[in-house]
Point group: D3
């Protein structure tokens, strides 16, 4: 169990239930995953998080699958087990193949390695990489 209990539909406030309803409608499923059930203890935080997530993860200049893989990459670097599980599942639901998953992991691992090497070497940033002052 977490630091707060998971709330069932009949235990949450009206504001939280409205968010659950919107999640169900947007995702086309009755299933509400544990993140939202634990966040429902603070309906305002639940609402703000869900509203923002909808905007950020919507199709735009980047397609939703690419966004999910970026989400997996950040969650992996941050060491968030729950998030790695939930966004890997979401990426699969959006079309990530085993080959894509393997390459995603390979890039994440490569980046982690060179991040560490650069930090150990304290390599100074090349001037050419810096944005010019406007």
């Amino acid at each position: 169990m977490g630091t707060v209990p998971l709330l069932q539909d009949e235990e949450v406030s009206a504001e939280a239930l409205a968010v659950f309803d919107d999640i169900r409608q947007v995702r086309g499923t009755d299933f509400i995953n544990n993140f939202w059930r634990s966040l429902a203890h603070d309906p305002a935080l639940l609402h703000a998080t869900w509203e923002r997530l909808k905007v950020v993860m919507a199709p735009g200049a980047l397609d939703p699958l690419v966004k999910e893989m970026i989400y997996v990459a950040v969650s992996t670097a941050n060491g968030c087990s729950y998030c790695v599980h939930s966004h890997t599942a979401a990426a699969r639901a959006k079309g990530m193949t085993p080959e894509m998953h393997g390459e995603l992991l390979a890039v994440i691992g490569m980046a982690a390695q060179t991040n560490a090497l650069v930090t150990g070497l304290q390599t100074p940033v090349d001037e050419v990489f810096r944005a010019e002052e406007s």
Copy 2:
């Protein structure tokens, strides 16, 4: 300056110079960025890192631009300034538009936020997200 000096072409070993030559040929430019110049103190490590990077970042199930954006995401989560600079520049060179950059940052920020919320709540992983035992 870093923890080691940046090595110029005339200061590196033959093994390291061969890596520099391959970087120049693969990238079609004479420019060698500082990461490789600092890594050249250990030619074997330089060689292994470059050889692996070529494989990992090559076109595959994911296209190179997507891979660069994943690299930026990991580097940002790991707080590696040099890496954020160099891979943001690389992503731009591969076609990342300002709109894509904005969405990349928005997803990174969203993921960092929900990673923190999940960790603070210690939300247990939904059974449905776990891979079934083979």
Copy 3:
């Protein structure tokens, strides 16, 4: 299980038992949580950690509840599950209400998000934020 077994009272050294006794007296409970039982394998490290913790978490310019919430914030950012659990429980014992917990999580999440945005943008520090040289 951890990387070392949890030690029961009858298994620890005299030095470690003296620390357990002091923990019991200071906290007014017979309960010794697992952190101290795993740390008891190294009595000197156990002793130094407990002695320092007592000083750092004592009332001072900041009150103990504020200190516990700061502890939760750091533990969350560092992704330490045990620490998030134990210090969230400690904060509750010191008076953290559900409303305060919700706001604590909201600030942690907001900070994680803007930390990530700043790192992705590599925003330079404003001169006005730097301490002047004495």
Copy 4:
């Protein structure tokens, strides 16, 4: 310089300028710090971030100074230099004394240390710390 140039007032979109104006009014100063000037490249992200920050950092169950110190703690654990600078300055502006700053750092350092010890020991969470299932 960062990965994007800092935008001056005359370079930003109308939507971004409206956010700058609101920042100025809420804070009672004409000064816009670099974070917002770099974020102004994506007016929608700028707007969403500022609107959320206003809500999260407003007085509530926790007072604004406590929230700023929590922000400093998270930023320190995440290694965000800019954020440590800007939120330490903000905490001072809200009344953080040198004694409070010293205690804040002592708690952050203590937490970082025990986070690392717990992770190295892989101490299992005490049952008593887990929230009971509702």
Copy 5:
């Protein structure tokens, strides 16, 4: 379970099985730990990771036990539970005594603490620590 099932010998590709065979021969045991079984979903990544690990962890200027303890230190700082477990076990197999384990943890904890203090203070690097330009 993880984000992928653990693969048994009879489920993996010929390329992956060859890696398993080499692991068994190099380590002198029939046991294949879970990391390799989950990585076997991507035989090329499995192969590259194992080949590189053999080189990096081999005796050299640093002895294998020191390398394992450094591996434990990095894994602890990165919050990787699996890695802390597996490399602590490996260090013990290579001769790490309880006293050495205690000192390893003490150094890790001390470093984490002063890392946090330095980051909170944003202490500028002493010129004498920087490598001179070649």
Copy 6:
């Protein structure tokens, strides 16, 4: 500059100056590096940190050079630039050769990579790695 000014000898309290004197005597040099000068704003924190560092880094079951390399490894994983610089310099002063530095970096990079792969795969810990309950 940092979040606090660096304090010169004539600006610190008597308690802080006594710590500076002890640092000078123990290290056999008149040089006080910036970390201690920024920490001197809180003499009690300065004193506690230095006293503990002396104990932790003293020769014991691990030799001082190994301890310094572990310190570099943790500092690198935590992304602390100052600490990477200062402890790399300290390791060199204690005998770290370029070959040892290269191997240290290679292990740090390898660990960072496999930490990331394990986290992305969410590999479950092998039962054989867990300490048996006492």
